[in-house]
Symmetry: C2
Subunit: 609 residues, 2 copies
């Protein structure tokens, strides 16, 4: 595969290219790129039509909202995005979060929202979360998403996958279930009225579609390759099987008049283009949407960025997180003013787009044209589409979110990270997506703070005949009853400052012969004002106890700061450049070893840092 026009040089082309990455690559756009973008757009459009309808229904919105969210936002992303292959549009998790956000609202009269009110709320949500993303981009806050740890994302994705699949069991079976988490769904199942049972034709069609799609996903590619098709072509064809399921089941519903027998169909989808307008405020509690909008922005951005970076790395391109924030934000704002729901980068479509060879973001704009044509010409046919088919498509597409191997892997690596993953997963399942992501972030931050608040430290001794010092409990090393060298394995800050005091004072209490204590600071990357006070307290108490406090291997940036305090002046002992220097000066072995080992004077002249 040849290299696409370089996106990475866009920065050098001045202010226009700085905000409009398009300006960077359009000049180099050629016939070959056009061909690749068009091919990718056709395949992605065919995938996107059923997904757009399905995710709109998942969000509890009219089906056409998914189509509208697949036009203007894609064009805006093509103009402002820095990824050449990210395919934006409605995605499962964001749709689930949208449903959850809208379900949490009530109308002006306190009752549940009517359909037009829900639609207005969805548009508002897209507009607000888009504006938040743009603001974060302008403030260069892209790095903030790093505070969501991988285990939290992993637990959240798996739980969301389970919730999405559970939410589709209703449409698959004809049961009217509802709820934003497993508890609510179970409750709604238990409280089903008498006679509101399974609709067997719906279940049969749904299971049939599910089985066919699953089989196609697992075996069709090999089958086509056995028939002589190239691997890449076979792979792409497999991704379009959902459209086949859509066509066949629509024909079935039309031919057998299944709608008249009680099967839920998509029903009349208004054809044509969405109108541009600002969403209206549906109720007084629209400010309640702010938290939901923030979570949707963050989750959508995290997913999109990870996806864009993974794909970009394969082509050695780079993604600019802050520009991505702006591009995704404008796309969401575009969705909000053109009748669409909140959007994000979609995993399966982006991978297909990449595999099909999309060369520039223009592929996305061409996809938007494909969706436009579909909503002009295909809406009459889409009315016949059974909802159970869409439910089967969602279930098959979503099952890849569930990653049980990650749970095992994370637990094996670290119980703490595993616990963060499981807590996020369980809270998401039983409390819903918003509580899940918030609790997950808090748990992983708390876990990190707990880890750093009880730092590892080790008494070290000299490896005989060398300038190296190692843990006395793990190695055979030289020690000295009058000298203790404590290696601190953590930056010193307020949360562990008192812990350090306790460790040092307990050490001194245990070793009455002690005259010198050296804190070896090679792993201390920071000493904040609280830790400085603790060091001063330690120094004071050790001095009172007749023990001198010394420091060694203080890093350059840390030392620069210490020099601005009074600690170096008040210190009972010295600050040594290396632990070996301290050993030579303070140990009973020191003078002897100083002569045979310090052959080049390195440790005396080279500052640590």
């Amino acid at each position: 595969m040849s290299e696409p026009p370089e996106l990475t040089n866009a920065r050098s082309r001045g202010a226009l290219a700085r905000w409009l990455p398009l300006a960077g690559w359009l000049a180099q756009y050629d016939r070959q790129s056009l061909g690749r973008d068009l091919l990718a757009a056709v395949i992605v459009s065919v995938m996107l039509v059923p997904q757009a309808l399905a995710y709109a229904l998942l969000a509890g919105l009219p089906a056409q909202v998914g189509l509208y969210a697949s036009m203007l936002p894609l064009v805006l992303y093509a103009l402002f995005g820095t990824s050449s292959t990210l395919a934006v549009g409605p995605v499962a998790i964001i749709s689930l979060m949208t449903a959850s956000a809208i379900a949490g609202m009530s109308g002006a009269d306190g009752a549940a929202l009517s359909t037009p009110e829900m639609l207005a709320a969805a548009l508002l949500l897209a507009l607000i979360s888009g504006a938040m993303l743009v603001a974060m981009g302008l403030l260069r806050l892209g790095a903030l998403v790093n505070f969501i740890s991988h285990p939290v994302i992993s637990g959240f994705m798996t739980a969301s996958g389970v919730l999405i699949i559970a939410s589709q069991l209703g449409p698959m079976s004809g049961l009217r279930l509802s709820g934003g988490n497993l508890l609510e769904m179970g409750e709604s199942w238990l409280s089903l009225p008498q006679g509101a049972g399974v609709h067997w034709p719906t279940l049969a069609l749904g299971l049939g579609c599910w089985a066919a799609l699953t089989l196609a996903r697992r075996h069709l590619k090999q089958g086509l390759m056995a028939l002589g098709m190239r691997e890449s072509a076979a792979g792409m064809l497999c991704k379009t099987t959902p459209i086949l399921a859509v066509i066949l089941s629509s024909l079935l519903a039309w031919g057998l008049r299944l709608g008249e027998q009680g099967m839920a169909l998509v029903g009349s989808v208004p054809g044509g283009l969405p109108t541009l307008s600002l969403p209206s405020l549906v109720s007084n509690d629209w400010s309640g949407l702010l938290v939901s909008a923030l979570l949707i922005s963050v989750v959508g951005f995290v997913e999109s960025l990870a996806l864009a970076q993974t794909l970009a790395a394969r082509r050695r391109q780079r993604i600019d997180p802050d520009k991505e924030l702006i591009a995704l934000g404008l796309s969401n704002m575009g969705a909000g003013v053109s009748g669409g729901m909140p959007i994000s980068g979609g995993l399966s479509r982006s991978v297909v787009n990449f595999d099909a060879g999309a060369a520039t973001p223009l592929a996305g704009a061409f996809t938007a044209i494909g969706i436009l044509l579909a909503s002009l010409w295909l809406t009459d046919w889409l009315a016949w589409l059974p909802r159970a088919t869409l439910a089967a498509i969602i279930i098959v597409a979503t099952s890849s979110l569930i990653d049980l191997a990650a749970i095992r892997r994370t637990f094996r690596y670290s119980k703490g990270d595993g616990a963060a993953l499981m807590i996020t997963l369980i809270i998401t399942l039983v409390q819903g997506v918003e509580s899940g992501i918030i609790v997950g972030i808090l748990v992983s931050l708390g876990l990190y703070l707990k880890r750093t608040s009880q730092p590892h430290s080790a008494l070290v001794g000299r490896v005989p005949g060398s300038e190296h010092f190692r843990n006395v409990e793990r190695h055979e090393v030289e020690t000295d009853p009058e000298l203790a060298i404590l290696r601190i394995d953590e930056s010193l800050y307020f949360a562990n400052a008192r812990y350090l005091e306790d460790t040092v004072l307990a050490l001194v209490a245990q070793q009455p012969s002690l005259r010198h204590l050296v804190l070896a600071c090679q792993a201390v990357n920071l000493i904040d004002a609280s830790a400085l006070e603790s060091l001063e307290v330690i120094n004071e108490r050790l001095t009172a106890a007749g023990v001198s406090l010394h420091l060694s291997e203080v890093k350059g940036p840390v030392m620069d700061r210490l020099k601005r305090s009074e600690l170096p002046v008040n210190l009972g002992g010295e600050i040594y450049l290396s632990t070996f220097d301290a050993w030579q000066a303070l140990s009973i072995h020191g003078s002897h070893c100083g002569q045979c080992c310090a052959r080049d004077g390195v440790s005396q002249t080279a500052a640590a840092g």
Copy 2:
């Protein structure tokens, strides 16, 4: 001063002593200890009477509440506390926070609370915050207070000092001012009705007391010593000058009938003992007290613990934070059921208690008896006490909270810590104590996370002829165009995992000749699951780019964990015990130096850790 009976051995005396430190020292209690405790109790009681009245009024409560809070709580602390010298009781900051908490409530009818309702709320607050402290103690959460950094405490104390002094300007001048922060106080000053001006006799008396107390504080000790008094006796006598101010100004108010001329007096204080009873729920929004109670517990505990530890260190005793939580919690619960307000360890009284030679917590119990006698016999006299005198006592006692030198010192040491201090200070001044402490904690946590999310890293080279490696930008070192050694100066966790990816990939992009990259991990104390994934991503991308990724100086605990992942297997390069090993194996200089320098094989055999 001889050593008091050892408190630290209490642990060895079994289960009783484990929960009742009293059991540890009572057996050794002798006549000498009794004498010291009695002397300390007399002096502290004399200090405490006016302070107890003043802090109750500061909290917006009847004056006797301060006396009630100085009986049962002191006895309970004597039974359960581990500090031999901490003097608990009403203190300025906790009283200010109590006032703020009660001011935030409204009664059952939505109106402001009446005095009996405010009293009931204060008792409930003491009971709840006491129960919270006990629960934290049983759960061994004493270490949680470490998450309040010193700059935040410093900013909070200074701002509280300013707020307390500002709140006393009203009683000092006869103006009726109110409010929990400077903005509200300013507003209440501007909206004073016509004619509600300064009451000049009150102001004169208040300023007179203030000037006398300030002068006594600054010069009386030297004066008494010049007259031949011993320094310690002179110091203690100075601390009791407030009682002289109380006696003289009460006599003045009685003799000149100042109450009839419009001066605010303490008025009738019910004599005798408080009755024991559970506080009643005053209104439906009592749950609103929970946050206030938590903040009062935490602030009270932080202050008490710091004070107890400072005093204990001077006598080489140790304080057990979890037992202190239980002791302070029971004391507060005791206050709640005996008509008292929330309490904590008081700075000035504890220092006096220490200086007077209090040998055991029994000194506190004797102080309680002193207060009991005062409330039996002195209440008729206290009715004549002008409030302006109490305001002057509070202002003089509180001025020590304001520590402007700490602001300068913190800013000089670190702009970030200085900013946390200033933000806490300003928010406390303009929003009140509760917002101040919450925002302060969040800011200092955020600051720490920000610092660690953008870790320092340095390309290092070999100090010629040695096994040491130093920053190429700070030192003259050997490097190799095919080998880069990057020292990471931070633990790797989710917040900086992507930052590491960016740093490494940018480095590789800049140095096209690179074949080997070594991450030197001596300052990496943790690699969490997110960072592990980032390392895997880095490894994958480097391998694809033809660069081998190596690690060196991985610490024991970190390596133990890495072995449970697939990274060591998938790694493109090796994991070296020392950076020098990596240099020998990978550098063009390596083979040469390997012969002349690795004379003892230390770096090959000694694992880092």
